[in-house]
């Protein structure tokens, strides 16, 4: 089986409902700048991984396990695989 290199983007964001003081501080700053329509901001992490895998679904599956074990903390964060594409 040949391996293909995939570029995987992951979003990790604070769990909904948890106090997110960073997001609130950014929202307040945006209001100060005059962006009064901003209702909320959540600050998270964007991770980009390059993974050698047999298929796109395998790369996706591996990333999910990485998120569960390390990249996100399920107690406080949600993750979403934003994209998987050949690198």
């Amino acid at each position: 089986m040949t391996m293909t290199r995939y570029r995987v983007a992951v979003h990790v964001v604070p769990r909904k409902g948890l106090l997110d003081p960073q997001g609130k501080a950014v929202a307040d700053a945006l209001h100060t700048l005059g962006f009064s329509g901003v209702m909320s901001v959540h600050v998270g992490r964007h991770l980009v991984l390059e993974i050698d895998a047999e298929s796109e679904s395998q790369a996706r599956e591996q990333t999910k396990r990485m998120c569960a074990q390390l990249l996100a903390n399920p107690v406080i964060e949600d993750f979403e695989i934003a994209s998987v594409s050949p690198a």
């Binding site: 604070p14 948890l18 106090l19 003081p21 960073q22 501080a25 992490r45 390390l70 990249l71 903390n73 107690v75 406080i76």
Partner: protein, 230 residues
């Protein structure tokens, strides 16, 4: 009794812990390097404060995968004592030794100050040297100390008497500002369901010498000594 103090890259309270054990408590202590696989027959393991791995990703998230942590988790699973202080508390949560997580302080500020705590349960391995409801003063120094967990977990912690310390008002602090980081239900320290793992954000090892202020941290170490030796 022998205490093993883990040094991760970025730990900065390992020497304070060592000094508290050897000089204030008068017991043996050894440093355990994070890459080691051997607890050197330590009876008690201390995960000290600091900024292991630069707090990259999340505080404690990478330290929990250090080789020594496999032994520390096995030590805890045998029911042996583990004390996680500050970054050590964050590591213990990430490692699944304790429930919940420590998030960025609600103020977004790093807070370095003495705080008042109420001892909530004196029937633990770590707190028997205090009086019920005693108010003690210990220093904190952290930016990520906001204890968070779901309501069910918080109810269980409270119902089972697993909350060891809570931030509490005293005469020095205004009633509305005693919680320094926004921790849920003012929780400053918790023990595991079996009672052998304590995680706390305040630093008892920095409060053991009367020359430097209240020595309110010393009874915690004495408690371990009396209970484990007994």
């Amino acid at each position: 009794m022998k205490f093993g103090i883990v040094t991760f890259p970025g730990s900065n309270c390992d020497y304070d812990a060592y000094r508290a054990i050897v000089e204030a408590l008068g017991e043996d202590a050894v440093y355990l390097w994070h890459k080691d696989h051997d607890l050197q027959s330590a009876d008690v393991v201390i995960l000290p404060g600091g900024f292991s791995y630069g707090d990259y990703l999340r505080a404690g998230a990478i330290a929990r995968f250090s080789p020594i942590m496999r032994e520390v988790v096995a030590h805890a699973e045998r029911g042996a004592p583990v004390l996680g202080i500050c970054n050590g508390f964050q590591i213990a949560c990430e490692a699944g030794l304790l429930p919940g997580a420590l998030l960025r302080n609600a103020s977004l500020k790093f807070v370095c100050a003495p705080v008042s705590l109420r001892v909530e349960n004196t029937n633990t391995l770590f707190t028997s040297g205090y009086d019920d409801g005693q108010i003690v003063t210990l220093p904190i120094a952290h930016g990520d100390g906001r204890f968070s967990a779901d309501d069910e977990t918080l109810d269980r912690l409270e119902g089972d008497g697993l909350v060891a310390f809570r931030y509490a008002p005293d005469t020095l602090q205004a009633a509305e500002s005693y919680n320094p980081n926004g921790s849920m239900r003012d929780i400053a320290g918790i023990v595991s369901a079996r009672g052998n793992v304590l995680g706390m954000m305040p630093h008892p090892e920095r409060a053991v010498d009367p020359l430097l202020g209240p020595a309110d941290g010393l009874p915690l170490f004495e408690s371990i000594l009396h209970r484990v030796a007994a």
